[in-house]
């Protein structure tokens, strides 16, 4: 990938964020207030975290559609383990329980995909259904408040910028540096780009794919904390994060074929998607427009980011057709 193409998603996302922000700021006074901006950054958190996790799965050439259900599950678990009036050490154990759910889910998904060789889409679809059911079993309607001290701690910040947001920015930057400036990052990209060659070069491809899915679930669990901080109650219905996390990763430059992506790009895209949902109510527009815009943006990004390949595909005699990679995770001999 040429340098300019690698930076295109980042530049595009930044431009869109600034442009939409400028437009909203000019038309609506309510946009450029510390209250609204703080709110925007906080509500970016769940999507940003889960999308960063999703980027891991995409980097090794897979999908994880179970992340939304896992986040719901984490919120529901948190409503039991992070109850009000509990001391900090109890809360810590409770938080570990939530992370544990994420870890267990990650290992379960990774085992299905890497050991039992199921296509990642079907494997995580199954997990999605199971987690949804489990969450409903625990809470069939929203109840059980989340500890307000914990929420406050999660939402704390300097001026209007939450610490957590600073944290996720640092995380994304470090992760990108890791991905593009270290040996293990390079190895991860190599496995995503070409599993067979990587195996010939003596790399542990199986372990890499396994870890990527575990990290994806762990990030979804952490995202669950911020969802919990937002809804503040054990609700069995949490937003449409499966699509939005994939959308953010793709808008941020991740390739569905694996091996390409940027955590910073993902974060910017998550910020932009949240900005859309933040701005629309200011203009008294219904939220459907946000969903439609996201859908259209995904399709545009798919076409725009790989325009040269698409042109080449149309020109070559064997155009081929879009097909799922059902042997995902299985080394091609």
């Amino acid at each position: 990938m040429s340098i300019s193409r690698a930076w295109l998603p980042l530049a595009l996302m930044t431009t869109l964020i600034v442009a939409l922000g400028a437009y909203a700021a000019m038309r609506q006074d309510a946009f450029l207030t510390t209250y609204n901006l703080g709110n925007l950054l906080l509500s970016t958190m769940p999507l940003a975290l889960v999308a960063i996790g999703q980027t891991n799965a995409l980097l090794v050439g897979g999908f994880d559609v179970s992340v939304a259900a896992l986040m719901t599950m984490c919120v529901v678990v948190a409503s039991f383990t992070l109850q009000p009036d509990k001391s900090w050490d109890v809360l810590l154990v409770g938080a570990l329980a939530v992370v544990g759910v994420g870890l267990a889910t990650g290992v379960f998904n990774a085992t299905l995909i890497r050991v039992l060789k199921l296509p990642s889409i079907i494997a995580t679809l199954g997990t999605l259904s199971i987690l949804e059911g489990a969450a409903l079993l625990l809470r069939d309607h929203p109840e059980g408040f989340i500890n307000p001290n914990a929420i406050e701690a999660l939402n704390a910040g300097v001026s209007f910028v939450p610490y957590a947001f600073i944290g996720v920015v640092v995380l994304a930057v470090l992760a990108d540096i890791w991905l593009y400036r270290t040996r293990t990052g390079l190895a991860l990209r190599a496995v995503g780009l070409d599993d067979s060659s990587s195996r010939r070069l003596g790399m542990a491809t199986g372990r890499t794919v396994f870890l990527a899915f575990v990290i994806c679930s762990l990030m979804a669990a952490v995202a669950g904390f911020y969802s919990a901080a937002q809804v503040q109650i054990g609700s069995p219905i949490i937003g449409n994060y499966a699509l939005e996390s994939i959308a953010a990763a793709v808008l941020g430059g991740a390739s569905l074929a694996g091996g390409k992506g940027s955590f910073v790009g993902t974060l910017l895209a998550a910020l932009f998607l949240t900005e859309i949902s933040n701005v629309l109510p200011l203009f008294q527009q219904p939220t459907e427009y946000a969903q439609m815009t996201i859908g259209v943006l995904i399709l545009l990004a798919l076409v725009l980011y790989q325009a040269p390949e698409l042109l080449a595909r149309l020109r070559t005699s064997w155009g081929g057709v879009g097909r799922l990679r059902t042997r995902q995770g299985e080394a091609a001999g």
Binding site: T182, D194, L201, K260
Partner: protein, 506 residues
């Protein structure tokens, strides 16, 4: 060139290795060793088991029996990672490049973790390595952008970077010109003087004899002995390579073609990896296409069949051949039997019935509705004619043996009434001996109906026995033509291995 004494340590030893792929015994009790500081060549025809042997040595394949020792370590569980740890480097014939990463990154990934420099110094380090191996490549270019020659040299350098005790080179010169071959050999010899054991696999006997200290010959998966290269000539090696325990039967040639009936005429055809090619095939003629793997034979056939886009012209039956797409080529009567049967020719999960009639559905389905009875009779008739062994026409083709799969794809030109040219890639590869004759007979029968047939095969015996005329390709062009009394296995092998290259062109 130093002949290593017995005191030199053995760096790679395979003892009594066997490997079967289903019914095909690829290797039978083969022992092989390579000492430090020697170049040990492994020669044999395609399918003689060389690649399988390398696959086992490198940990990519697990042997059915026998032991592998690398650098004195007994291999326990086969994996490329383990073999590399023990000091084995390999340059794969199909390469191990990650095409979307840069040259520098590919080099970086190729060395063990302990020897990798800091990531920030990667490009600097990679440039230094390339310079060390006298390879002029842009470090930051993606491998995808490199030529085949560059990719091949890069593959060798990658194998050398890990400082192996033993280095396996699998056909390292297929894409190289004479100058690069020399450059590569210099590199190899320099390593061997430094004490690295080198296993060199190649088709090209002059190259082999020019560089090897010892030569081991494989034939049909059985070792034919190990010899000092100094005492061998090309002739003696060829004799060892082709002497065959099992003679195949071939159908009679019925007088061959009449000189006037030119059916397929190709002039100045060029494409990726081949050209320019001028060639004429007559009605009823079976033309063989010989050459070492990767010299453009496959691409040439594909260009004729509309799978790849060539420049230049080809005409069929006097009319210019429309080969813009496979459909256009089929309409012009040109049928390709792909060598990649399960990938490009058959529908593995579908039944014999569906696979057989897929190109003639229009005839079997008036108004779009299949006459299943008629279809069944058609299929049954073809099954009988080509002697396809199977239990039921509803059986998925993937459950048939290789030979019967090939016969199923052969039924298609038989069912089409309008076939003029058949292009057969490796028609008997992976086919059991019994089924081979049936396939030869079917091809000859089709030729006798007046169809022109080009057979691309890596088996010289097959070409000599089946074809009326054989042309030899090297580096994309036709370098030799053999016919009449000259047409024999030995003569073809000699032409391929370079004994008489550039003697005559078609």
């Amino acid at each position: 060139m130093s002949i290593p004494g017995p005191e030199r340590p053995v760096v790679l030893a395979l003892g009594g290795v066997s490997k079967a792929f289903g019914a095909v015994q690829a290797l039978r009790d083969v022992s092989f060793d390579c000492r430090a500081g020697e170049v040990h060549a492994l020669v044999g025809e395609n399918g003689s088991g060389k690649s399988t042997l390398l696959g086992i040595a490198s940990g990519f394949l697990a042997p059915d029996g026998g032991a592998v020792e690398i650098g004195g370590h007994r291999r326990r569980r086969g994996s490329p990672a383990e073999a590399r740890r023990f000091g084995l480097g390999i340059a794969y014939q199909a390469y191990s490049h990650v095409l979307d990463l840069s040259v520098g990154e590919n080099l970086y990934l190729a060395v063990p973790q302990e020897e990798q420099p800091r990531f920030g110094r990667m490009e600097e380090w990679a440039s230094a390595r390339l310079e060390e191996f006298k390879l002029e490549l842009p470090v930051s270019a993606r491998v995808r952008a490199l030529s085949l020659v560059q990719r091949q040299l890069l593959e060798v350098v990658k194998a050398l970077l890990a400082k192996p005790k033993v280095l396996l080179l699998d056909e390292p010169t297929t894409a190289l010109g004479p100058k690069e071959v020399e450059q590569l050999h210099e590199l190899v010899l320099q390593r061997s003087r430094a004490g690295v054991g080198i296993v060199y696999v190649s088709h090209r006997l002059p190259e082999v004899l020019g560089i090897a200290d010892r030569v081991t010959v494989l034939r049909d998966g059985v070792g034919q002995g190990t010899f000092d290269a100094a005492g061998m000539s090309e002739e003696s090696l060829v004799a060892l390579m082709i002497g065959r325990p099992l003679q195949h039967a071939f159908p009679e040639r019925n007088g061959g073609a009449r000189p006037s009936d030119v059916l397929l005429a190709v002039s100045g055809l060029r494409g990726e990896r081949f050209g320019p090619i001028d060639l004429v095939v007559k009605k009823g003629e079976i033309l063989g296409l010989a050459g070492a793997e990767g010299n453009g034979q496959v691409q040439f056939l594909r260009a004729l069949a509309g799978v790849e886009r060539p420049t230049g012209t080809a005409s069929c039956n006097g009319k210019e051949l429309d080969n813009k797409s496979p459909l256009a080529a089929l309409r012009a009567g040109v049928v390709l039997l792909s060598g990649d049967r399960t990938g490009e020719s058959l529908f593995p999960v579908l039944s014999v019935r569906a696979n057989t009639t897929v190109q003639v559905l229009r005839r079997l389905a008036p108004w779009g509705f299949l006459r299943r009875g008629r279809e069944r009779r058609t299929v049954t008739e073809m099954v009988r004619r080509l002697r396809i062994r199977m239990a039921s026409v509803e059986q998925p083709v993937q459950s048939l043996s290789g030979g019967n799969q090939q016969k199923v794809s052969l039924t298609r030109p038989f069912l089409r009434g309008d076939v003029r040219v058949i292009l057969a890639e490796e028609p008997t590869q992976g086919v059991d001996v019994g089924a081979r004759f049936d396939i030869y007979e079917a091809l000859r029968a089709k030729a006798d109906e007046g169809v022109a047939i080009i057979v691309k095969s890596s088996d010289p015996l097959e070409l000599a026995g089946l074809c009326d005329r054989v042309v030899v390709m090297s580096r994309g062009t036709i370098v030799d033509e053999i016919q009449g009394a000259d047409l024999g296995e030995r003569r073809i092998v000699e032409a391929i291995v370079g004994g008489r290259v550039m003697q005559g062109t078609a």
